[in-house]
């Protein structure tokens, strides 16, 4: 029982640190903070990672992965998060990529994988529907065969970054027979196809991240179906498991915690600062303790998978505890910002004249962060699943 890094691991860490410090530079930061930061900034960052060969640590080496050990992946993830470097946009690299290399045809692999690695295609995910949120399998978007094409009609909702996307991967209903999980197929759809409309959803963080995507008789070649017809649920489930890694967000929460500590030390309060307030310090400490534990819950899970025993029962807690911890941090940051937490300043306005420079960021993160316990399987559904599969209830 130990957490000692080998000499190789330590050397790897140095390499990672050097790369990140050099490549995540001021130019990139400026690009990310610009008006089109999510798209142009992220694409630039992912291309730098690609050049280094590090853009897809989760992929098998043959498809362009890194061949890293779990410890190496953990080191990379930790160093990334500590620097506040955003994770790659997940839809291509983390989500559809693995589905394609696992279940796709040779043609599909050849066509899509290199473009994903090079960030030439921007992907989005078409799962949720207005009537099917946590109950994903209740989806109704229909795909009917017409010659060597499907005709797709229906609507997807909560589609992150659909406004930037070249492609969308969708679960669609190709049969009404059997259980609702049966009769679902997995399609790759070109976003420029006639009949697709993207409507923005304005969210409580006042940003435009989410969309509704409508399909009105959209024609999709049969060749764009992954695997067999009516087996799409199986592929999607495999993907969901893949998505689980690093879902705890430990690195990002550690960074947020350290920001809060810094801000609380700067915030004057009586003769001292807010960090001196025993109640504030106590709230911060209580969260830090949970986070210290979660870091090892994640490591236990990785280590167990690494020796071929699967991620273990505790891995079912990674999303639950990870999101709860993050939301507690968001709330604490808001409380620290106090009445400045409410300031809704437009990008480019000067903070200095108004209040705490972090107030508005704290608010946006708090607001958008409410989604963490709702999307991707709400925490209620996570608890149901854990009760059933882990506790046997």
């Amino acid at each position: 029982m130990d957490t000692n890094f080998s000499a190789d691991d330590l050397a790897f860490r140095e390499e990672v640190r050097a790369f990140l410090d050099a490549q995540f530079d001021d130019d990139l930061l400026a690009l990310l903070r610009g008006p089109d930061g999510v798209k142009s900034g992220m694409v630039e960052w992912q291309r730098r990672l690609y050049k280094q060969g590090w853009v897809a640590p989760g992929w098998p080496k043959e498809y362009g992965g890194t061949g890293w050990s779990l410890t190496q992946k953990y080191i990379f993830e930790t160093e990334r998060a500590l620097r506040g470097i955003p994770d790659v946009v997940p839809f291509g690299l983390i989500m559809v990529g693995p589905v394609i290399y696992t279940f796709g045809s040779a043609e599909q692999k050849q066509r899509f994988l290199p473009r994903i690695l090079k960030s030439e295609d921007w992907w989005c995910q078409g799962y949720s529907e207005p009537g099917a949120g946590s109950d994903l399998a209740a989806l109704q978007t229909k795909a009917e065969r017409d010659g060597d094409e499907y005709v797709v009609s229906g609507a997807k909702i909560w589609t992150t970054y659909a406004q930037h996307a070249d492609w969308i991967f969708c679960l669609v209903r190709t049969s009404q027979e059997g259980k609702k999980q049966e009769g679902i197929s997995f399609l790759l759809i070109d976003m420029t196809s006639p009949g697709i409309t993207v409507n923005p959803i304005h969210t409580i963080d006042s940003k435009h991240t989410l969309n509704e995507v409508q399909f009105d008789q959209v024609r999709v070649p049969l060749a764009n179906r992954i695997g067999e017809e009516n087996k799409g649920w199986t592929y999607a489930k495999a993907l969901l498991e893949h998505e689980r890694t690093a879902i705890a967000g430990v690195g990002d929460s550690k960074r947020k915690l350290s920001q809060i500590r810094t801000h609380a030390a700067q915030e004057k309060w009586g003769e001292g600062c807010v960090l001196d307030d025993p109640k504030f310090a106590s709230r911060l400490a209580a969260i830090e303790v949970e986070l210290m534990a979660l870091e090892f819950t994640e490591l236990r899970s990785l280590a167990s998978a690494a020796v071929g025993k699967g991620p273990g029962a505790a891995s079912s807690l990674l999303k639950l505890k990870g999101t709860e911890i993050r939301q507690s941090l968001d709330q604490l940051h808001m409380d620290l910002a106090g009445y400045y937490s409410g300031i809704a300043v437009e990008p480019g306005e000067s903070w200095q004249t108004i209040g705490h420079e972090y107030g508005s960021d704290a608010r946006v993160e708090f607001m958008y962060g409410r989604a963490a316990t709702i999307f991707g399987g709400s925490n209620e559904v996570q608890r149901n699943i854990t009760a059933k599969y882990v506790l046997g209830l």
Binding site: G133, S134, A138, K279, D335, G338, I354, G355, I374
Partner: protein, 378 residues
């Protein structure tokens, strides 16, 4: 012992309810916010005509002479509609400070203008490093031959852009807090306006050696902190009543949504785990109401029985619960609404944001808990 509204209060409540249901669709509210002042001048006129702007003022100032219970009735309904007009800022903070400052000439000149809706005011007490304290400020009032000279910057001044007069707190040479009435058209006063997440328009205000006559001093020199604490009594009740209205709407909306939204073939309101959590939301809402009634009753107590220590304790307790119940109900309302709770279209997020701003107005839950503890020690 009696927690029923009087006949007069019931009429008042009905009239505010009607106003809110006529004028406060979410879409209309967006339009009011888009107006230059940040609210509807027409609504404000209507409020004046209906006499609501006079509620807290004494009869000698031409007011209605209402108590805490009357104010509660108005504010709870405002809370249900997320009314954006600056009742708190102009009537309770600005008007309330005038009323508490004992300057008869100013009271006679200005309070009628507040009541008839022609004067907007603001109270500037926050600063960059003041956090929730009235006295931990850096703005200074230097005595001059003919009066005072003010230097400093006040932040997050509610209604600070629409106000034509602002009351400003400043440290005087003796280290005490004094209050000054200033006109916003003074060149030495500079305003930067911005919005809060709940749609309110606020301002930062720089005072660059603003020269004032000695008549600008409100109340005694150094007596400002006392005045502000008295002003806070009504303002805290108003905030809590407004929060009560917002929490009630969130609870009702969430329960209704859970009855209609289906997942896994049944209404989500049939899931026991959600039912128990909605019961806890209900509990927070009702416990808050109880504390609101407790506080209102203690303020409206016969003068012979009025117990200032008891009132202060109730007010701190109430503001603690405003913060905590508001967070609890707000978080659960979004969560149970699921993805829909994240959208700006639904009203849910707007109520949650208003509750968050109410929490930070005049001291958050943690600040008032500290005050509550100190009071208990005495």
């Amino acid at each position: 012992m009696n927690f029923e509204l009087s006949e007069e209060q019931t009429l008042l409540k009905d009239s505010v309810t009607r106003f809110v249901s006529d004028r406060y669709e979410l879409e209309s509210r967006r339009q009011y916010i888009a107006e230059e002042a940040g609210f509807s001048a027409d609504n404000w006129r209507q409020m004046a005509e209906l006499g609501w702007l006079s509620v807290p003022f004494s009869e000698e100032h031409g007011g209605f002479g209402g108590g805490a219970a009357d104010l509660m009735v108005v504010m709870e309904e405002f809370g249900k509609g997320l009314v954006i007009e600056p009742y708190l800022a102009t009537v309770l903070l600005f008007g309330g400070t005038l009323a508490e400052s004992g300057n008869a000439a100013l009271q006679q000149a200005l309070i009628p203008q507040i009541i008839d809706g022609s004067l907007h005011g603001a109270l500037a007490f926050h600063e960059r490093h003041s956090r929730y304290s009235f006295s931990q400020i850096d703005t200074r009032a230097e005595k001059t031959g003919s009066g005072y000279r003010l230097n400093g910057e006040k932040t997050v001044v509610l209604n600070g852009l629409a106000a034509s007069k602002i009351i400003v707190s400043a440290l005087d040479s003796s280290g005490g807090i004094s209050l000054f009435l200033v006109d916003t058209d003074e060149p030495a006063l500079q305003r930067t306006g911005y919005s809060l997440m709940d749609g309110q328009q606020v301002a930062n205000i720089r005072l660059n050696g603003l020269a004032l006559g000695s008549e600008a001093l409100l109340g005694e020199a150094g007596g400002g902190a006392d005045i502000l604490s008295r002003v806070a009594v009504q303002a805290l009740v108003a905030l809590a009543a407004e929060a009560q209205g917002a929490m009630q709407v969130l609870l009702d909306t969430t329960v209704e949504y859970s009855k209609t939204r289906e997942q896994f073939g049944v209404a989500i309101g049939s899931f026991q785990a959600l039912q128990h959590r909605m019961v806890d939301m209900f509990a927070s809402c009702e416990q808050h109401r109880s504390l609101l009634y407790r506080t209102v009753c203690s303020i409206d107590e016969d003068p012979s029985n009025r117990d200032e220590q008891d009132i202060a304790k109730n007010l701190h307790a109430l503001k603690i619960m405003v913060g905590r119940a508001g967070k609890h109900i707000g978080a659960e309302a979004i969560q149970i609404h699921g993805g829909m709770g994240m959208t700006d279209e639904l009203a849910v997020g707007h109520y949650v944001k208003r509750l968050m701003m109410i929490n930070t107005t005049l001291g958050d839950a943690d600040y008032h808990e500290q005050q509550f503890v100190e009071l208990a020690r005495k």
